[in-house]
């Protein structure tokens, strides 16, 4: 029994990792209909920026949480301003070629990975020290690291902050309006282009925070952005248009992977997300918490 409980507990933590990355994907998708294939590389950039601040500038962890999101926000916002606006043309164009946007995000992922790889320091696996060190915490037979608890706490806080932002702030409401109907939002005075830039910045900042948080757990390599595939799975399971859904999807995925590893085979861990995606697409294509496909925005 303790074996299963340990698997579930670790799965919840890993699931929060997937959920954090999925959050940044879903925010972009909700606002722009674009699937961001550079989401994982924005996580990776956040992690390496954190390492840079820690090792070269000897800044404390708290400074990382303040500076990394700002820097990665700038990367995302500039990507929208410099690339996506050129690729997509006018913000309110009737026929926007989403394929071009998606290809642009793939280009960004290669650019970021290539930029990091030229630094010799990145040749080896690196790790940020944990946010909270000390002996592990025992809950019955289940053992968790303090960093694991921090990941759960920060994921919860980010979820709450995003909910408050989208529900209670004018900027959040403007972003929602832009995502639901850009033309109508523009008619009532919402600066749609600025809103889209803000969305890219916000999603990138979340990815940056995820990078700082995940670097002690997943370890850092220029390829750590591959975690985005699991984040996609989490978002599809939860519903690509639902923020709470992607958190639930992420946690469910983390737990299922561990249970499969324990009861079936560790070899099956890698294929589990894709098997779950197939099941979800077969039986509930909109995901567990996604909007009905028939009601997708006009």
């Amino acid at each position: 029994m303790s074996l299963v409980l340990q698997g579930v507990a670790s799965g919840v933590v890993t699931g929060c990792v997937y959920a954090l990355v999925a959050l940044s994907l879903v925010i972009v998708y909700k606002a722009t209909d674009v699937v961001n294939f550079a989401g994982g590389e924005l996580v990776m950039i956040g992690a390496y920026l954190g390492l840079l601040l820690l090792l070269w500038f000897q800044l404390p962890y708290i400074a990382m949480f303040a500076l990394v999101p700002v820097a990665v926000f700038a990367v995302g916002a500039l990507f929208d301003r410099i690339t996506l606006r050129k690729v997509g043309g006018r913000a309110l164009a009737k026929h926007v070629d989403l394929v071009s946007f998606v290809v642009a995000t793939i280009g960004l992922s290669y650019l970021l990975k290539g930029a990091v790889r030229v630094v010799p320091f990145t040749e080896e696996v690196r790790r940020l020290p944990p946010l909270f060190s000390g002996p592990p915490v025992f809950i019955g037979d289940v053992v968790l690291q303090r960093q694991d608890l921090a990941i759960i706490a920060v994921t919860t806080m980010i979820m709450l902050a995003l909910w408050l932002f989208f529900e209670r702030t004018l900027l959040g409401k403007a972003l929602r309006a832009t995502s639901q109907n850009a033309r109508a939002a523009a008619l009532v005075g919402v600066p749609v282009s600025a809103m889209r830039m803000a969305v890219w910045g916000l999603a990138s900042a979340i990815a940056g925070i995820a990078g700082v948080l995940l670097a002690p757990k997943l370890l850092m390599t220029p390829d750590m952005g591959a975690v985005v595939m699991l984040a996609f799975a989490a978002a599809i399971i939860g519903g690509f248009s639902s923020l709470p859904g992607c958190v639930v999807g992420g946690i469910a995925l983390g737990v299922i992977q561990n249970l499969v590893g324990i009861f079936i085979s560790p070899q099956a861990i890698a294929v589990t997300p894709f098997f779950v995606i197939m099941l979800v697409l077969l039986f509930r294509p909109e995901g567990l918490f996604g909007e009905s496909l028939a009601l997708k925005k006009v």
Partner: protein
Amino acid sequence: MTIGMKRLAGALALGIAAAGVAVTAKAQTPPGVTSNEIVIGLFGPLSGPLVAYGVDPLNAAKMVYDEVNARGGIHGRRIRLVIEDDKCNGNELVGVVKKLVTVDNVFILHGGSCTAAIAAAQEYVLREKVPFVMLNAAGDNAVFPATRYMFGSFQGTQRVYGSALAQFAVKDLKAKRVAIIVHDDDYGKANLAAAKAVVERLGGQVVAQERIPPAIADITAPVLNLRASKPDAILSGAYPAPAVLLAQKYGEFGMTAIPLLQSTQGMPTPSVYAKNVGNPDALKNLYHTWSFNDIADEALHKKWVDMYKKYYPDREPGPFMVTGIPSALAVVDTLQRMGRDLTREKFVEAMEKLNLKSDVMTGPLQFGPGRRDALRSVVVVKFDGKTQKVMPGIFAWNGKDGN
């Protein structure tokens, strides 16, 4: 026939004979060899995601050849390199190999940092009968089964690592119940097969064999399975990131009384590995295989590092730099033993007689008829995060276990 016509016919006959002699002479000169130079096609991943495995090792190999040239070359011939980028990609590598053979007419091929990419060129190399010396790729698939023109694995194959860890676990640590964790790929398969064969041959029992995805994010389930099997020792063939995750979970789940034995590829720089694991308790009972003759982390191969800095003053050598040296030393040694009479077939025959103490690796680099993997013996090192202590004995693969 007039005298003039006779002279013309004679001149023509002489001309044809002279041309025939020239053609014959040309046919006898192997491609890429002239009276004063030997052309070698040198390649590796100089761009792309696996560039870290290529740039420094290729520079190091070039440095070895430059040193030879600086001393006057080999039997009066200088080595000229034609350098190409294979990106560690099979298609690219095959294209590079064809270009080097058909356009640049190189004498031999020396390159490749990725076994899978090299395997893609194997058929072409065999058909064209061009000797191919692997730069620093060490995977089992390129050298097992042995083929006539491919030589490599100068750092030891996974058969060597799996066998060494298993021998140390059963013979030295007296482990009866051994658990093995490897990746779900060709490297893992070879490591597991050798380790399992050795454990069983020595009277031990493999109580768990976990095969994990190379990009695993959460290693909890496999480690729980290992713990549940109650092993006396755990052998790991994991790559760097999963190796760190394994050690972290092993420490977290209080398994540190069980010796953890890690293959070399999981910790290219032991001090970085220790820093990444972050938990000194997890390193109390840690051993790892090592195929280099120098274990001091900071002063690792000082002679070669200093030479590298002389040739490339603007570049700090990465951890894989020295892996490009043994294969270049093997090529130089072979060419020196051959004298001035060079052909590709004679190169293959001379390579089969290689027995080189490289001043880089733990054991001798050897090939033979039917043997194309160079290094078969490694040492085991106990590493507590600060100091490294070489365990007594050399652990050699017998050429059979796991085949």
